[in-house]
Amino acid sequence: MKLYNGGKIITGLVIFLGLFLTPLAYNAGKAAYSQPKLKMPEIEKECIESKETMRTKHMQILNEWRDSALRDGKRVYVNSKGKEFEISLQNTCMKCHTNKAEFCDKCHNDASVTPYCWDCHIQPEGLKK
């Protein structure tokens, strides 16, 4: 069997594979991704739900909170243990998590997500010009 234009094809394949594998080569020898260290609240030990629930479901909870407070007028959240909280990002979440840069932004930056919460809601650090 004869490979026509073999030189060009092999060179092309080598270049392609080289480019394709650059990310692997680039990251070789670097430490694996580790979860960022978050600044946890000092005044409160327990969030509205368990840590695992909050980590995976806080976006859905916030969506449900928004619709419940705005559309149904239900502004009190009763968690699975029966404890009550005011439904409010600014007045409940951020009263404990008093630092957006040290809490929200850490994971959001790593995951490359930019939620638009703070276009309108006021972060606890306040706003600067």
Binding site: E49, R71, G73, V78, N79, E86, Q90, C120, G126, L127
Partner: protein, 257 residues
């Protein structure tokens, strides 16, 4: 045991019933344990919120400015010079407010300024035209907005016959005093429409709207569906009019002339 059709059907029926009960039980058990939302016990509630404005008592620019300052401070409403200003509550003369010009009006009414705000209509035209349901009518009659959903198409502004809605042509935070923000309430962003919300967030905490608190009794707020309420009492005792009643939107804001 003999395998008859009758026995087979009995067994199949029992199994099906058992499966139904078991699944219903697990759903109910999960519902009992999971989190819920409810209305606060402190919240003020009504079938239809309404406001009566005594225009004899708040009839000047200065008096209306006091109300506007109180409202705009609570809700982080920016003050933008020119035609792109955002306003939740403001003042205007009789002709502009009521659309029934009169050449020979008595002097006191002719010179009076009238408090204008969203009328929280019973059949709101803004709600009918909103393509995303960003503006909607709550069961208590308040026409509210969900700024998360607003796409800034401004159909509602075209539909509102009272000019109650303002568009954020620019980033509102550029025109707010950032050191004096009310940190309990959000601001808005560029590209959304905003308006008076009858202070739903204060009613939910058992407080009266900010303008009513600042008016020293000139603005009365209450439940229109309750004959014993303060608003109904005031409406019985005074002659009142509403803005542009011929349009059929049924405003909830009444003016004592």
């Amino acid at each position: 045991m003999n395998h008859t059709r009758r026995n087979f059907l009995k067994f199949a029926g029992l199994t099906a019933a058992g499966l139904c009960v078991a699944s219903a039980w697990s759903v109910m058990a999960a519902a009992a344990k999971s989190a819920t939302e409810k209305v606060s016990e402190k919240a003020l509630q009504a079938k239809r919120w309404a406001m009566v404005i005594d225009t004899k008592r708040v009839g000047t620019k200065e008096a209306i400015d006091v109300l506007a300052k109180a409202c705009h401070a609570v809700h982080n409403v920016p003050d933008i010079p020119g035609r792109q200003n955002v306003k939740w509550i403001w003042g205007a003369g009789f002709d502009e407010a009521f659309d029934q010009p009169n050449n020979f009006m008595d002097e006191s009414v002719e010179k009076r300024e009238f408090v204008l705000l969203c009328n929280h209509c019973a059949s709101p035209s803004c709600v009918r035209v909103c393509p995303t349901q960003a503006t909607y009518q709550r069961p208590d009659g308040i026409v509210a907005m969900d700024y998360h959903r607003c796409i800034g198409c401004r159909y509602c502004m075209a539909a509102c016959p009272y000019g109650s809605r303002s568009f954020n042509f620019m980033e509102p935070r550029l025109h707010l005093d950032l050191s004096k923000l009310n940190k309990e309430f959000p601001t808005r962003m560029r590209g959304v429409v905003e308006k008076c919300n009858f202070c739903v967030e204060l009613l939910a905490k058992g407080k009266m709207p900010a303008c009513v608190e600042a008016s020293q009794g000139a603005l009365v707020f209450g439940d229109l569906s309750d004959p014993a309420s303060e608003v109904r009492k005031v409406l019985r005792e005074h002659y009142t009019i509403r803005r542009k009643p011929a349009l059929g939107t049924e405003p909830s804001v009444y003016y004592i002339i």
